[in-house]
């Protein structure tokens, strides 16, 4: 499956994937800043034409919007996935089944019941704390998995350099489904964590 280079990536002229390490974020930022210096309307001559000003302002806005969207590694990942879905709705869907490990699901179910009954006993609170710890541990594990999956994908794409030059990315549905599954679970956990934080 080939997808057209998503807009924010073509605006920034950047490689598609990065690992989740912070070094890469710095690299991306330096790249963004150098482009900004090239297109920022403030650096134009005050007497330049309205047309030129408009072009620079437009380019600069696009750069800012693009950087905002992909600077965070998780949001970047979600953006790529949503682009794949938009371009290939028949081959790829973001709707993946999300499941917690069975033991945790049961745990969550019981906790919900206790909380809905208005119980706020120390026992329930302790249970809540240990439950969120377990969730957090899974979330961290998933982040590691995601980092690995993304860097594998990046390597694959790097090998096919000629393909990326042609303005499209060759991607495998399986790889993306795997990544979408991880992201789905992470988001699900985030929601639960936000939910139970209300009770803590």
């Amino acid at each position: 499956m080939k997808i057209e280079t998503p807009k924010h990536f073509s605006v920034l002229g950047c490689a598609p994937f990065w690992s989740l390490s912070l070094d890469d974020e710095k690299h991306l930022k330096a790249h963004f800043l150098s482009l900004t210096r090239k297109y920022h309307p403030d650096l134009l001559d005050l007497d330049c034409s309205d047309k030129t000003r408009e072009e620079y302002e437009s380019k600069s806005s696009e750069l800012n919007s693009a950087y905002l969207k992909i600077k965070d590694p998780f949001e970047r990942c979600d953006y790529i996935l949503s682009e794949v879905e938009r371009q290939n709705p028949e081959n790829f869907s973001l709707k993946t089944k999300v499941e917690l490990p069975l033991e945790l699901s049961m745990n969550y179910f019981e906790l919900q019941e206790a909380l809905e009954d208005g119980s706020n006993s120390p026992a329930v609170r302790a249970e809540l704390a240990s439950f969120s710890e377990k969730l957090q541990a899974i979330a961290n594990e998933e982040s590691m998995k995601l980092a690995k999956a993304l860097s594998r994908l990046q390597t694959k794409l790097d090998i096919q350099t000629s393909a990326s030059e042609s303005g499209s990315w060759p991607l495998k549905v399986d790889d993306l489904t795997h990544i979408a599954g991880i992201r789905g679970l992470q988001k699900y956990i985030d929601r639960i964590l936000i939910d139970i934080r209300k009770f803590q």
């Binding site: 800043l33 403030d42 005050l46 302002e57 800012n64 919007s65 905002l68």
Partner: protein, 640 residues
């Protein structure tokens, strides 16, 4: 104020006005209490604060009118009238910029002059004797005085300026500030955020200051901004603030405390409430300033101006010390520190990541403020900059960047408030999130939901709240002139862009029609471009009349459409709704028809709103009848 964009022709092209540029670019700090102007000074070209012939740099932001409502003095002379000639002395008008009566509801009791809404209900006007004056006009007088001071100091004419605004100013307040500049004959190249300007001045010749916080507590507003200053790039990471928190509020806290201490039968109580308020505030400010140097002060108030009079019954003396004042100010300080917390969170930092905390604004001279800020950030706050001058210096430095003398320095600021659009059910869909780097844009696609739908409404909002009604309404756009086509046929792309001034520009583009027509509208608030131009050319009263005439014509067209649609609906639904409902609806229709003939914008708007509210249920019943599209085509227009 609904702005109508006709998709059929580009009649609403923004009017680009080019004024010939003269002289160096002025950096103007248009403050709530005090204003200053800076510029590069020959021969060195170094940016300096400009003074008048007496060496006086500060121009108090005070304007005095005579009994006929004409401007009689500005600045220091006007300030001297404060307290005695209270009703004609206008101060702290910055708080009223771009604000309607409704916006000011909660603090109206604090404002010592009479306010009224303008014809459109979008900008308050100040009632002075027989005349009323808008805050934009008052601000323009202060700007004229600053410009005159600059021309005198520089020895050459100049008409370009950068004006600072609180970072937390919204679109309407920024637009009003820009309008004031134009009214004063200035070509406003940029409105720049005050804390950012301060950061420019601080980091201009400072190699790599790193991550800094600017704590800017002025006379009427509070801002906090977190910046990263590195290799000539000034990048604002986040900003937060409160446009109604400043030194004025510290005065008010003291004044409120003193007021309750005055016995009910005291001679001071015989003064008019406004006279008493003005007197209390003047004394409160004096006490506040005294407490910055001394630990004890006395609040003294007398009925007459004659201090020598030995009539104790006509005056009061209240001892006050720092401890007491700090108790009165605790709530204000908490509000400021909450903003700091949010700014740090938004920048995804911890307070320990901040390498330096700069104090800006006259109110940071209060020892209590400095102590609390130092405590919050866990380091001694930096008060080495002149808190009054640094903002205007920074504005002039931004002028250096724009004129190409910035030696590769670049400033990247952010939008203070999120921008969104009202969706079905009065919720807000966010298009641009707060703290996005400027300029920034978002695109949305819209389509028609019925063949006969020829227009739809966009309601643009600014703020962080979930519901449309809790946010500030920026503009209501009506996109109209769609040709009849099957539902879902049209593809209208709307581009929302916030420019480097933090001001919104909206364009709509019909992607389906063969030729691309692009419509650009720069919504202005309080004062429209047309209105401003008329103000510049001729008498203000005429301009406003023209303005409301145009608005009235537009609204009449809308109303006539609704009358037709409503008449049709009554025919269609009369079997299906209760007699009472129908009677009510008919009554509203008659009101509307009367309003169309009455030639009053306000009456017409009200009648339209009423029939809209009343017709909602009926329209729902007949979702596919003409009224639903004519009345409420703003619902459910968004393409997912």
């Amino acid at each position: 104020m609904p702005i109508q964009i006709d998709l059929g022709n580009s009649s609403y092209k923004a009017k680009a006005q080019k004024i010939e540029r003269k002289g160096p670019i002025l950096g103007i700090d248009l403050g709530t209490t005090n204003s200053l102007v800076s510029a590069p000074v020959a021969p060195s070209g170094k940016v300096e604060v400009l003074a008048d012939v007496h060496g006086q740099k500060i121009i108090p932001s005070v304007v005095c009118l005579d009994s006929t409502g004409k401007i009689s003095s500005v600045g220091e002379d006007a300030k001297k009238q404060k307290g005695s000639n209270h009703s004609n002395v206008l101060f702290s008008v910055k708080r009223l910029m771009g604000r309607s009566l409704k916006d000011l509801e909660s603090e109206r009791h604090e404002i010592p002059y009479e306010l009224e809404d303008d014809e459109l209900g979008s900008q308050v006007r100040i009632r002075v004797s027989e005349r009323s004056i808008s805050p934009v006009e008052v601000s323009a007088e202060i700007l004229k005085a600053l410009k005159a001071q600059a021309v005198q100091a520089l020895g050459e004419d100049c008409n370009q300026a950068i004006i600072t605004v609180p970072a937390y100013f919204d679109d309407a307040q920024r637009s009003a500030t820009k309008a004031a500049g134009r009214l004063a004959g200035l070509n406003v190249l940029r409105v720049i955020n005050e804390p950012t300007a301060a950061a420019l001045a601080y980091g201009w010749s400072n190699e790599n200051p790193g991550t800094v916080a600017i704590f800017d507590l002025g006379g009427g507003t509070f801002d906090v901004s977190i910046l990263k200053i590195e290799s000539n790039t000034f990048e604002v990471l986040s900003t937060s603030g409160d446009t109604h928190l400043g030194g004025d509020d510290f005065d008010r806290a003291i004044s409120a405390w003193a007021e309750v201490k005055i016995p009910q039968d005291h001679a001071l109580r015989k003064l008019s409430p406004q006279q008493l308020k003005a007197k209390l505030l003047v004394e409160a400010e004096r006490v506040k300033i005294e407490l910055s140097d001394k630990t004890h002060s006395t609040f003294i108030l007398s009925v007459g101006e004659d201090e020598s009079r030995e009539d104790n019954s006509a005056s009061i003396e209240l001892p006050i010390d720092r401890d007491l004042a700090e108790k009165l100010w605790l709530a204000l300080m908490t509000r400021a520190l909450d903003c700091c917390m949010r700014a740090i969170d938004d920048a995804k930092l911890e307070s320990s990541d901040i390498q330096d905390v700069l104090l800006v604004g006259g109110s940071t001279r209060i020892p209590y403020v400095k102590a609390k800020v130092s405590e919050f950030f866990g380091k001694e706050a930096n008060d080495s900059l002149n808190p009054d001058e640094v903002v205007s210096l920074g504005a002039a430095l931004q002028g250096e960047i724009l004129s190409g003398r910035g030696e590769d320095r670049l400033l990247m600021d952010v939008v203070p408030l999120s921008l969104g659009i009202e969706t079905v059910g009065g919720a807000v869909s966010k298009l641009i999130h707060r703290n996005s780097t400027l300029p920034v844009e978002a695109r949305e696609m819209y389509t028609n939901h019925a063949p006969e739908q020829n227009a739809f409404d966009l309601h643009i909002l600014q703020g962080e709240r979930e519901l449309a009604k809790d946010n500030r309404s920026l503009a209501k756009f009506k996109l109209r002139g769609l040709t009849p086509a099957p539902a879902g046929y049209h593809r209208i792309e709307v581009l929302f862009r916030i420019d480097a001034n933090g001001i919104l520009n909206v364009r709509a583009k019909d992607l389906r029609s063969g030729k691309e027509h692009e419509i650009e509208v720069r919504p202005s608030f309080g004062i429209s471009d047309d209105e401003l131009m008329n103000m510049l050319e001729s008498a203000y009263e005429n301009a406003e009349e023209d303005m409301s005439q145009r608005q009235l014509v537009d609204l009449k067209v809308e109303a006539e459409g609704v009358v037709r649609a409503a008449t049709l609906t009554i025919e269609n639904v009369k079997e299906k709704v209760s007699y009472e409902e129908l009677a009510e609806f008919k009554a509203r229709l008659i009101d509307l028809k009367n309003a169309v003939n009455a030639n009053s914008w306000k009456q017409l708007r009200e009648a339209l709103d009423e029939i809209e509210a009343c017709g909602k249920d009926i329209a729902e019943l007949q979702m596919n009848t003409a009224i639903s599209s004519a009345l409420k085509d703003k619902d459910a227009n968004k393409v997912e």
